[in-house]
């Protein structure tokens, strides 16, 4: 042990003497370069993480996420879509904004597959989310209501969503169809279902919690205004592309400003 300490002392002394021998300018320059590099790295990492601009498209399988994704990007849904097996992920200037003059900011949009086996994928993208769009099939709403409410409940109770107050837009898709339900109806039904879920989920013993936060005010009937993050409802039709997010002008969500121009 003592030998090693002694050895180290010798080396330190040698190093000191070597540094003394060098011209002072050289040492200053070296120190400055090191400091500058560290500063640059810090600035870069700050800029990167300061503002997430990812919009997450979520919803059940078959609600039209991929169609809306391509509608936003290219302004057409091409030849149609099939069930996604992987997420679609792109940073682009919205198609409707491309002709506009002035400053247009590209958005990062992620379309998460809706198949229930692929639900874990959502956890990967939520930390970066600036906003979540939850897409509901308004035409085939009644049969998928329970599953949709469950999915929405999962999103609303994710710790990261509540903590960062990520705004959520419930988008009722396919309203161009005659048999589609109105957004008021859908909103009411979803609130009702979530209210039921809240009871049954809160009742589950502490050993098997999957949801991290309590939703709404205990003892009151649930509605979306009780959420800490903003939740809004909009309707439109992804396949025609004419009226995507048409009610978004009255929309309080800042992140959806990027979207509402798509009307």
């Amino acid at each position: 042990m003592d030998e090693w300490v002694h050895q180290a002392e010798v080396w330190v002394r040698q190093a000191e003497s070597w540094i003394r021998q060098q011209p002072t300018e050289q040492i200053y320059i070296a120190a400055a370069v090191v400091a500058l590099t560290i500063l640059l790295l810090i600035v870069a990492s700050c800029l990167k993480s300061s503002k997430p601009n990812t919009i997450v498209l979520s919803g059940l399988s078959g609600s039209g996420k991929t169609t809306i994704f391509y509608q936003l990007r290219d302004g057409s849904s091409h030849q149609g879509t099939v069930t996604s097996m992987e997420e679609n992920n792109d940073t682009f200037v919205l198609h409707s904004e491309q002709e506009r003059k002035g400053k247009v900011k590209p958005v990062h949009v992620v379309d998460v597959p809706g198949h229930s086996r692929l639900k874990p994928k959502l956890d990967e993208v939520l930390p970066k989310a600036a906003g979540v769009v939850f897409i509901v099939d308004a035409q085939d709403f009644l049969s998928s209501m329970q599953a949709a409410a469950e999915y929405l409940y999962d999103i609303l109770t994710k710790a990261i969503v509540v903590k960062k107050k990520v705004p959520v837009l419930i988008f009722c898709n396919k309203t161009d169809k005659v048999t589609a339900h109105s957004k008021e109806f859908i909103k009411k039904q979803l609130e009702k279902e979530i209210n039921k879920l809240r009871e049954s989920r809160n009742a589950i013993s502490s050993a098997d919690i999957s949801d991290e936060v309590q939703l709404g005010v205990p003892g009151e009937v649930f509605n979306f205004s009780q959420c800490q993050n903003k939740v809004a409802v909009a309707e439109g039709a992804g396949s025609t592309g004419t009226i995507i997010f048409c009610t978004a002008s009255a929309n309080p969500l800042p992140m959806l400003d990027a979207f509402h121009v798509d009307c």
């Binding site: 091409h78 149609g80 879509t81 692929l118």
Partner: protein, 624 residues
């Protein structure tokens, strides 16, 4: 007829569809969505085909570009050329694919061409088969025509020049290769010509063949030997040794074919690489013409050459170049590269008590999803395989349906009827014990529970349940022994409805999956009472038998039911989970086989020892 051929990205965007491009009628229903949901996403992508309604579907992937190719055809038709066509379409489309482009209207012409070729090839094959079976002697000539396609062309030419020796033969082959090159460039005339040329060539071949047959036996034999060598080399080079295992089999088949009036076994076409198959066919045919006696020699030679090739394979890739490739991140994964890593992974899964069959299937599926992918820089194959497997396991174990029983109970309560859960399983797995645990859990959430003692078979079963009921202070419905359990269950449900009970837990007798009378009784119980949940109770200790148990239970429930839409197992209760340490494989086996989620996990002797499955920790344990 082929109904549709669809090309789409893994993200779900349709890039090209034959229906749209050629103006055919659209499909009924959505078989493709069904395929993706119940086959590709369930890690069954290594299966050969999938059928839905009246359609049969086949598919292939291009993993590097993230493309999926699906062919749909009527189930009753056995289209032999589908695999061939998919491979051809895949090859052609991957050349014009560009991630930024989304419409490929010009692909229609190419597809039509490919389709016609594939059909013609299949047609010829069929014809040769028929001819062979009806007239053995002239069938030879027909058979020569049989193996169509680019290589068949070259060999036809080569055999034609049979008498003149080896040099001419190699020339013929070169021209064949040229044909192939032009093909790859996208011009399909080459092959069209090839097919036509071959037809015209085929006739002289026969004549010459017969002439050569008797007097000039030696010369002809040389040709055949050379050809055999060449084709074998090609095969080995293409497959890089992975096909080696299947090789002896095909060889044996070849020997059988030599019998004059035997049918060639074209069945193989369905699953082997078409190029490989064709090569083999050609060698067979040539050998048939030359006669039997030389076959053995041929075999020795070819096997020698095969060995050499295989040994050469790995040598070429020195450690330096492979390291360079891994740094540059340009290494395309091939099946042979994946094999060792997959084997290690399979062994590890089996050590964790995953059923062998399932470990095998999973590894195949993972291989299918990785083959052809580019390896990222600074990543090893084993770690890539590991991540892919982790994703797959996570996907399998994530429940497909809601496992929130309490909500379903509340929904049933609103409708004014009790929620019925039937516990089924083999003997001694802990049905009654875990039924009591579930009852305790439900009671804790302010639900009223009724027990139904439908185990009227084993002595002491009713008393056991009565003890539980007394301890938990809940009503029990019993009718003693030697009664029909289905009737007892029905009366119990009626009783519970009258008493406004929320949940009825039905205990059944344990039965082996092969016991037909008992399985019939169970099927009757389930069909008569239509419970809300059929819970399969299985022990976590079970190994390979898990597969058999669940498949048989599901099968028997489906087969023995009187109604067309039979109820199957909805969920799994895994018992004795505290006894297995890290051998958690049974959970995976059961979920994979049945597709039903694990709803509860029993892990102890007291009423409180009931848990939910933690998917992430299971995956971690499995891959540890």
């Amino acid at each position: 007829m082929l109904e549709e051929l669809l090309i789409f990205t893994r993200g779900g965007l349709i890039l090209w569809s034959s229906c749209r491009a050629l103006g055919a009628a659209a499909l009924k229903g959505s078989p493709i969505d069904a395929l993706i949901r119940s086959c590709l996403l369930e890690e069954r992508s290594a299966d050969a085909s999938f059928s839905q309604d009246n359609y049969a579907l086949k598919w292939t992937f291009h993993n590097d570009l993230g493309l999926v190719f699906v062919a749909v055809y009527q189930k009753i038709l056995h289209l032999l050329y589908v695999d061939d066509l998919l491979a051809a379409v895949r090859r052609e489309f991957s050349q014009i694919y560009d991630p930024k482009r989304t419409s490929y209207d010009d692909f229609g012409d190419i597809f039509r061409q490919l389709h016609r070729e594939a059909e013609a090839r299949a047609e010829e094959m069929k014809k040769s088969k028929q001819a062979l079976s009806s007239r053995p002697q002239p069938a030879l000539s027909q058979k020569k025509v049989g193996p169509k396609g680019r290589r068949g062309d070259s060999h036809g030419a080569a055999a034609n020049k049979g008498g003149s020796g080896a040099k001419d033969d190699s020339d013929g082959d070169d021209s064949g290769n040229k044909d192939q090159n032009t093909l790859v460039n996208g011009a399909f005339k080459g092959q069209e010509n090839g097919v036509r040329k071959e037809n015209s060539l085929a006739r002289p071949v026969v004549v010459k063949g017969k002439e050569n047959g008797g007097p000039k036996d030696n010369g002809a034999f040389d040709v055949s030997k050379l050809q055999k060598l060449r084709t074998n080399k090609k095969n080995v080079a293409a497959d890089n040794g992975t096909k080696k295992l299947t090789k002896p089999d095909t060889k044996k088949k070849g020997k059988q074919d030599r019998v004059w009036d035997d049918k060639p076994s074209n069945k193989k076409l369905d699953f082997t690489d078409p190029a490989d198959e064709r090569g083999d066919e050609v060698t067979d045919n040539v050998a048939v013409i030359e006669g039997e006696s030389m076959m053995d020699k041929d075999e020795d030679l070819s096997s020698d050459s095969e060995d050499e090739e295989v040994e050469d394979g790995p040598k070429k890739k020195g450690w330096f170049s492979s390291m360079f490739q891994s740094i540059a991140g340009n290494n395309v994964l091939e099946k042979s590269d994946l094999q060792p890593a997959l084997k290690a992974l399979k062994d590890r899964l089996m050590a964790k008590n995953v059923a062998e069959e399932i470990a095998e299937k999973l590894c195949e599926s993972v291989a299918a999803s990785l083959e052809g992918k580019k390896l990222g820089s600074f990543t090893r194959i084993s770690s890539t395989v590991q991540t892919a497997m982790e994703d797959a396991l996570l996907r399998i174990l994530t429940p497909r349906r809601s496992i929130d029983i309490l909500r379903d109970v509340h929904a049933a309560k609103e409708r004014g009827r009790p929620y019925v859960i039937v516990f089924v399983g083999v003997n001694g797995v802990g049905k009654s014990t875990n039924l009591a645990k579930v009852a305790y859990w439900l009671l804790q959430h302010n639900l009223s529970v009724t027990l139904a003692a439908c185990d009227t078979f084993r002595s002491g079963a009713v008393e056991q349940l009565r003890t539980h009921a007394r301890r938990l202070q809940i009503p029990i419905f019993e009718k003693g022994y030697e009664k029909d359990p289905a009737v007892v269950a029905r009366e119990a449900i009626q009783e519970a409805t009258r008493n406004k009970s929320d949940v009825v837990l039905v205990d059944t007798a344990g039965r082996m999956q092969d016991n037909e009378p008992l399985m019939r009784a169970l099927s009757k119980l389930i069909n008569l009472n239509s419970p809300d949940l059929v819970l399969f109770v299985g022990e976590a200790l079970v190994g390979n038998d898990a597969v058999d148990q669940l498949t048989k239970f599901n099968q028997k429930l489906a087969d023995l039911s009187a109604v067309p839409t039979a109820r199957l197992i909805d969920g799994i209760l895994l018992t004795k989970f505290d006894t297995i340490d890290d051998k958690v494989g049974a959970a995976l086996s059961m979920v994979y086989i049945s597709g039903a989620p694990v709803m509860f996990v029993g892990c102890g002797q007291s009423y409180t020892d009931l848990k939910k499955l933690n998917v992430k920790s299971i995956v971690k344990t499995l891959l540890k």
